[in-house]
């Protein structure tokens, strides 16, 4: 597959995530849209990793495992996302206990 197909697919997924963050008011849905954006970037990283593999194979460059850094980076992004979700959901649960809603428009107390 040409790399720009993956590029446009990842851009579309990322933009859908951005639209979700901007339009929804439920804090949990906003969090899920952030996960969607992370996954769009992950998909693009894997596609570029395979592109570098292809380039190195075509040019017969003697490096061990060309393009493996991209896939390991995806692995670390998943690690960070898992840690982020656990802390973020704990914060949302605490907010829900305090204001009995997940509407982010009630979270403007830092303004006053």
């Amino acid at each position: 597959m040409p790399i720009n197909y993956y590029l446009f697919l990842a851009i579309a997924l990322f933009s859908i995530g951005v639209v979700g963050v901007l339009t929804r008011r439920n804090a949990i849905i906003i969090f899920m849209c952030i996960e969607l954006m992370l996954n769009a970037v992950n998909l693009l990283l894997v596609a570029f990793s395979k592109m570098h593999y292809n380039q190195a194979a075509a040019a017969a460059i003697p490096i061990a495992n060309p393009g493996i850094d991209g896939q390991l980076f995806v692995f670390f992004i998943m690690v960070v996302a898992a840690a982020e979700v656990s802390v973020g959901l704990a914060i949302i649960v605490m907010l829900y206990r305090n204001i009995h809603s997940v509407d982010i428009n009630f979270l403007n107390r830092l303004k006053h």
Partner: protein, 166 residues
């Protein structure tokens, strides 16, 4: 059109449609289910790119652990269609327009890149296999790997501390 090209298009359409449904559906539970379908489609893309380890990890970690955590929190709060905050029409319009503008700018900027003729290799290569990734992870990337365990520990402590009733 080869079978992998057909699979690519089917998975892309499935990913985009379910991502749209995540944003548009009113019920938070339905949003979670659609997001799980999106993750399965993205895992299908990983398998197509022969990144098998990442495909399996994506299903286990994202669809298995993270989304179950989301479902658990939503059911704990008893959120449904009625408790969903009312959406402001102008806010929705502004969000849609700005997201579409972002899409337009990125596509216009990257439409004529030099990479256009490059191919992303399908169904070949041993980069994504667990043996190669594991050897690299435990030799070159061993320090970030150990640091991520500290990150997990601190995230766990933080989540327990925040979630504790004071």
């Amino acid at each position: 059109m080869s079978i992998s090209a057909i699979l690519f298009w089917v998975l892309s359409v499935a990913a985009l449609f379910s991502a749209l449904m995540v944003v548009t559906s009113r019920n938070p539970i339905h949003s979670v289910i659609w997001l799980i379908i999106t993750f399965f489609a993205i895992s299908g893309h990983y398998i197509l790119l022969n990144a098998q380890f990442l495909a399996v990890v994506n299903i286990i970690v994202y669809a298995g652990a993270i989304m179950v955590l989301f479902l658990f929190v939503i059911m704990l709060m008893n959120l449904n269609k009625e408790s969903e905050p009312a959406r402001h029409r102008w806010l929705q319009l502004a969000g849609g327009v700005s997201g579409g503008a972002l899409l337009l700018v990125l596509v216009a900027a990257l439409k004529d890149t030099e990479l256009k003729s490059q191919q992303s290799l399908l169904l070949e290569g041993h980069t994504g296999l667990i043996k190669t990734l594991g050897q690299e992870l435990f030799s070159t990337y061993v320090i970030p790997f150990e640091l991520s365990s500290i990150l997990f520990l601190s995230a766990m402590v933080g989540a327990v501390l925040i979630g504790k009733k004071d």
